[in-house]
């Protein structure tokens, strides 16, 4: 079992109520998922901090075994004019940790990006942050950052069978950048849910559609950031490490690509 290659997200679709969040996180940890993703705008940092303490007391899961990732939101970049140290500190305080495994820029608002990125690099140099990253960027941004010599350790993008992001993934793999996929199941859009191709591939491996898609992410070198409010779903999604898709089946899943994105980057990050 290698569930460390799955990240449990606590974003828009996750439980916000403390007790439900605790239940799903405990279920995830029981299945070996030890990586968690949050952001100030999700409103889960504080709750997660409490849950991590309880994990340590009740299950003996130390901080070192966990992977904790949070983000700097657009309003924080603006409010501090890119000097986001205090926001990183506040996130660590809420999460009850002395360092972050990964800190990402949620939406790289152009006006405040450069200074924010400098701060993240400084936080990494100071050992406060282990990995730095950027969410919601495209191939053209990566090319630009490469020219300036400032590539991130992690990139988190919306990726699923309807949007395979080939160019971004090839670039990231070539440059040793970890790719994380948010909305990895595209909220089970009907074009995924009702896809005959996906149904056939899933049946072949005796797995559910969600498991097959998550496995496709892993087999294509991408870490899915998934979420669910349901315990059984968390358990189901953790069970994807006893099979592997063949090259042909990976290509079949990717054949669903229509460059569909749920979140329009420019709406959340004007001028991106």
């Amino acid at each position: 079992m290698d569930a460390s290659r799955l990240i449990f997200g606590t974003g828009v679709s996750s439980s916000k109520d403390y007790d439900s969040l605790k239940q799903v996180i405990f279920a995830a940890v029981e299945r070996g998922i030890l990586a968690f993703d949050t952001a100030p705008s999700y409103g889960t940092e504080e709750g997660l901090g409490r849950i991590f303490k309880e994990l340590s007391h009740e299950m003996g899961i130390d901080r070192e075994r966990l992977f904790i990732q949070t983000k700097i939101d657009a309003w924080q970049m603006q409010e501090s004019d890119g000097n986001v140290y205090k926001h990183a500190e506040s996130a660590m305080k809420k999460l009850g940790v002395s360092y972050l495994d990964s800190l990402l820029i949620h939406w790289p608002v152009p006006e405040y990006f450069d200074r924010t990125w400098e701060c993240l690099v400084e936080l990494k140099n100071d050992g406060i942050v282990r990995k730095t990253g950027i969410c919601n960027i495209r191939f053209r941004h990566l090319e630009k950052y490469a020219e300036c010599g400032g590539l991130p350790d992690v990139v988190q993008i919306e990726r699923n069978p309807l949007r395979t992001c080939e160019k971004e993934i090839v670039f990231c793999h070539e440059h040793g950048i970890e790719v994380q996929a948010y909305s990895p199941l595209c909220k089970m859009d009907e074009r995924i849910r009702d896809s005959e191709i996906l149904k056939e591939v899933s049946q072949k491996y005796g797995k559910s559609l969600g498991q097959t898609v998550l496995r496709w992410h892993i087999d294509t070198g991408v870490t899915p950031v998934f979420t669910s409010k349901k315990l059984e779903r968390v358990r189901e999604y953790a069970g994807i490490f006893d099979f592997k898709l063949s090259r042909e089946d990976m290509a079949l899943v990717a054949s669903l690509n229509i460059d569909y994105k749920m979140y329009l980057e420019s709406m959340a990050c004007p001028g991106l």
């Binding site: 460059d259 420019s266 709406m267 001028g271």
Partner: protein
């Protein structure tokens, strides 16, 4: 949790406003002042319809919209039907901004260009000649703005503008409701900043002065 609290607060606010509104109408009706009562009611209905139309324009850009990878995005002082004719493509998304300035249309483009297909998309900004160099943003532009933009542009009264467009921009609101703004002739304009913006993002940008 805070989201739920906000929703409850918003519902309470809306209910309080509705009660206040009904009370004002009642006062006028009881005092036999039917004309002011009728005017207030008509303005309220027109405002509600304007807000709905304004929000409907944003629907294609929402998370659950299936409209993506458009060939053409037409933004500006042109009604949806005329925009469709102008672009000549079935996969056209249009945003009608009556009386908009070039700065306003460009800011809306900065917020919406991701709806265009990755390579080869086209954006058209349509602005009336008299408004090209003017400044300011109407509720119809602001409704597309991110909180970060609203702060950057210091649009402190945006909340009121978005709630009561008919009071702040009555003519533009009526134009949105009518939705019949056409284009007789158009002249292409050049703007270095806008051209560079579009080129960098892989689509072509055209500014049409009408």
């Amino acid at each position: 949790m805070s989201g739920i609290i906000n929703k409850v607060k918003n519902h309470k606010k809306a209910a309080a406003l509705l009660v206040l509104f009904l009370m004002i109408i009642a006062v006028f009706v009881i005092s036999g002042m039917y004309l002011p009562a009728a005017v207030i009611m008509a303005v309220s209905v027109a405002n509600e319809l304007t807000v709905r139309k304004m929000n409907r324009q944003k629907a294609p850009f929402g998370t659950y919209s299936k409209i993506r990878n458009a060939d053409c995005l037409v933004i500006g002082d042109i009604s949806p039907k005329a925009a469709q004719n102008l672009s000549g493509s079935d996969k056209t998304v249009s945003i009608y901004l009556p009386g908009c300035t070039l700065a306003g249309a460009y800011e809306v483009l900065r917020h919406t260009f991701s709806i265009l297909k990755e390579d080869g998309g086209q954006a058209m900004l349509v602005v009336r000649k008299k408004n090209i160099d003017k400044t300011g943003y109407s509720p119809f532009e602001i409704s597309f703005f991110h909180a970060v933009t609203i702060n950057r542009l210091e649009l402190d009264n945006s909340e009121y503008l978005l709630r009561l467009p008919i009071l702040f921009t009555p003519i533009k609101s009526l134009m949105i409701l009518a939705g019949t703004r056409g284009v007789k002739s158009a002249t292409g304009l050049c703007d270095k900043e806008i051209s560079a913006f579009c080129e960098e993002r892989g689509f072509t940008g055209e500014i049409l002065e009408v």
